[in-house]
């Protein structure tokens, strides 16, 4: 754990990417294989299963620190991280130890088979022999959510430096549903067995937002299609099995059982990049329909008929077992079209249609009608481009439609966590309804750090009432809220739910009387819902 803690400290103590990568690479050169494998797993969102509820951990920590539980609870929002709060309040360790990262993870896993008394003894013993930083990391392993300022991308880059394996190739090897229990460092990184990973997806290629239409020159080099608002997914058909991966590398096959039939129609060794959409009568249903299916591991029949899904195919990555990502987009798309064309339209698979255009003015007009078609905007892909890994600039652009906006009054504020602990960053907004203010959305992002500091100071001085961590504030500030879509929602007091709400501007120039009304919102719902 000392070496891992030293790595964490080195990475945490700098804002320089280069220094972070160097520290990681050095660790990958020197750490034992088991620890390397776990480090890779932790930095690619694969953590051991949570074994103890955080409620119990809080109680044990407060007890061990000799402070009342309420005081621990007061500390938590100020620190902004549970594991950190625990490691800060605990008394200094009375024992010492020098075990590996893998030792402690194994230790945690062994505890999962014990009863609560043995778990408590085990965890208190661990806390009492770890230095504060090791204790923080150990507790992070217990509470999960191991987000520590190192992206999977940086970790992969460092691993590439340490192993001399190509970064894109490593990115691919690290995809899929492996865990440190199912593989070893050697077979994952050094000598991958191609048959061992039939479900392994390719790294997704992600687009940047278009900054300048002049980039699209000559227009004949570009293919335009709609940017659909569903779940980006990768459908894999290999060895007569199918797997569906989300962009967040989550296996979501069972949530969308209607896609299973595709394996009877498409050749083995097919991998399609596309968008899972709720879809009926050859048109996408609102995102809210799809949302009903996202949280479910299994789907009741009724929902299957209410919100049927299709895969809107964007790209073909593997054709009859051959990785074709290096081919030009136009070729891949032609092969994709050939695959789909002969299929009956009762199947839940469509080719994302090209939007014809000659000039960028044509494109601008097409973009303007996106919302009417249930799309978020346009996707623009260079027809000569290979399918790259990760977010890369130049060949693919997304050109989203301008968001909808409404002016709203801030009525509640709550502080954030992590980097935003101690700052009020989470706000609830309301619109006028006669004399009343009706809350209709929350928003967390869009302000600068300086603005967050300013509004935090204001909230502290203008709190009317506290409800736990939430503060009701004087209705005074108006914010322009931007959002991508609006839906009817019986669960919300206002009757609407917004998609991707955020603060576009702090309208210091507007008094609360100039904020919008519930009637305005209802009108937007009628038009765009």
């Amino acid at each position: 754990m000392k070496a891992f803690a030293a790595l964490f400290a080195a990475v945490d103590q700098t804002t320089r990417t280069k220094v972070k990568v160097q520290a990681l690479a050095e660790y990958f050169r020197t750490a034992p294989d088991d620890d390397k494998l776990w480090t890779i797993a932790l930095f690619s969102h694969r953590r051991p299963r949570r074994l103890i509820t955080t409620t119990i951990l809080r109680e044990w920590a407060a007890e061990q620190a000799g402070i009342p539980l309420w005081l621990f609870e007061e500390c938590y929002p100020i620190v902004g991280d549970l594991a950190e709060t625990i490691s800060l309040v605990l008394p200094p360790p009375t024992q010492t130890s020098d075990h590996s990262l893998t030792h402690w993870i194994t230790y945690i896993k062994a505890l999962s088979k014990e009863d609560d008394t043995a778990r408590k003894t085990g965890i208190l013993a661990a806390w009492d022999q770890l230095e504060p930083l090791e204790r923080f990391l150990f507790t992070k392993l217990l509470t999960g959510g191991f987000r520590v300022g190192v992206s999977q991308k940086l970790m992969t880059r460092a691993l590439a430096q340490a192993t001399d394996i190509d970064e894109a190739e490593l990115t691919h090897r690290l995809m899929g549903d492996w865990t440190p229990d199912t593989t070893s460092y050697h077979s994952l990184i050094e000598a991958p067995d191609p048959t061992a990973a039939l479900s392994r997806p390719y790294p997704f290629y992600l687009a940047y937002s278009l900054e300048d239409t002049a980039t699209l020159d000559p227009p004949s080099d570009w293919n335009a299609e709609r940017k659909w608002d569903g779940i980006r997914g990768q459908l894999i058909l290999r060895a007569a099995e199918h797997h569906l991966w989300s962009r967040g590398e989550e296996l979501i096959t069972d949530r969308f059982p209607e896609l299973a039939q595709l394996k009877d129609f498409l050749p083995d060794g097919t991998v399609i990049d596309g968008e899972v959409l709720a879809f009926a009568n050859e048109a996408p249903l609102p995102f809210a329909q799809l949302q009903k299916r996202i949280g479910r591991k299994t789907v009741p029949k009724k929902l299957l008929t209410e919100a049927p899904v299709i895969l809107m195919a964007y790209d073909l990555l593997e054709d009859r077992g051959e990785d074709i990502r290096a081919l030009p987009f136009a070729d891949r798309r032609a092969r994709l079209a050939d695959l789909i064309a002969p299929l009956p339209d009762t199947l839940p698979l469509r080719l994302s249609a090209s939007v014809p255009f000659k000039t960028t003015q044509d494109l601008a007009r097409e973009r303007d009608i996106s919302r009417d078609l249930g799309a978020e905007g346009l996707m623009l892909k260079n027809i000569h481009s290979p399918y790259l890994a990760g977010r890369k600039k130049g060949d693919w652009w997304k050109w989203k439609v301008d968001p909808l906006t409404i002016d709203a009054v801030m009525i509640y504020a709550q502080s954030g966590s992590g980097r935003r602990a101690n700052l009020f960053t989470d706000f609830t907004f309301a619109v006028h309804d006669g004399d009343a203010l009706v809350p209709f959305t929350k928003a967390y992002s869009g302000l600068t750090d300086a603005e967050f500091r300013e509004i935090t100071a204001w909230v502290k001085k203008n709190t009317l009432q506290r409800f736990g961590p939430v503060r009701q504030v004087t209705p005074h500030h108006v914010f322009e809220i931007a959002f991508e879509g609006i839906q009817a929602s019986p669960r919300h007091k206002s009757g609407v739910a917004l998609r991707f709400p955020r603060m576009l501007r702090w309208r210091k120039d507007k008094p609360t009387s100039e904020a919008n009304t519930l009637a305005d919102l209802k009108e937007m719902l009628a038009q765009y819902g």
Binding site: T15, I78, D81, S417, N422, R453
Partner: protein, 337 residues
Amino acid sequence: MDVLTFTDRGIYCPAGDFYIDPWKPVENALITHGHSDHSRWGMQRYLCSDIAAPVIKHRLGDISIDTMPYAESRQIGGAKVSFHPAGHVPGSAQIRVEVAGQVWVASGDYKTTPDGLSTAFEPVKCHAFITESTFGLPVFTWTDPETLSSQINTWWADNAAAGRISLLGAYALGKAQRLMKMLDTSIGPIFTHGAIENTNAVLRAQGINLPPTTQVTAGFDRKAHPNALVIATPSAMAGTWARKFGPDHSNAFASGWMALRGVRRRRAADRGFIVSDHADWQGLNDAIAATGAEKVFVTHGYTSQFTKYLREQGYDAHVVSTEYEGESMDQTEEAAP
């Protein structure tokens, strides 16, 4: 009758007709120390410790000021007043006020661990104690001085070896000088921001020993001093001034808030050293216990949480609203030079 009362101008002693650290203009002001939230402009007469006076005069200009050495007492109207070391910054005092056998102590800002610069904190027995609570939560525990100085010197030495200038952010009065005294000057030269060098000059003139420092001027040549450590106010570090030290310089803040990883990350500094001129959780609790006071008034900081905790420990504790600020977390503007 209460020895001290809490008014909208500051802490007031009716028996002696004076205020302690008032935030609005009054006739008679007793000042605990020279930080600008405690020592404000506009009072007709100031009274402070002899060690605190030079900085206060330097900051407030032409004022009418009288001084007293620590522990000496003086009768002011019906009140007997004395100053006692608070260990916060040079000359900082707890002000003991006795009226008809009742003793109250206003402690201003304080810390209980010696810093090698200020006269060390001394507990004063009293019936009622007015305490700050800037760091009044059990998540705040300060790094011990040896570890701290080794952390800072190691960071500096590593930077010096790599040819990077080290830029360290600290308050101009107290924190900056305390850090200077910890530095291993065999690593390289110490430079300072003007606001800090001005304070250095005042402290040196009153006989306080500090290591040699040079003010960073417009013509600063960073290539000539790749092994330098520069101490600057946090506000200077946030501005364009810091560009003088090249794109590769390493920056760090020295503050109690650096105990929190979230705050450290928000400041986007390479390093955060956990050091404060305020008491940590244990320090606050020990200091209050040592006074023997039954009644405790909690001013700036985590007032409601700390007061609730003190009540559970059996104190007659109350929150008092003041305009003192303690150590600011995000605000980059420092107390005026």
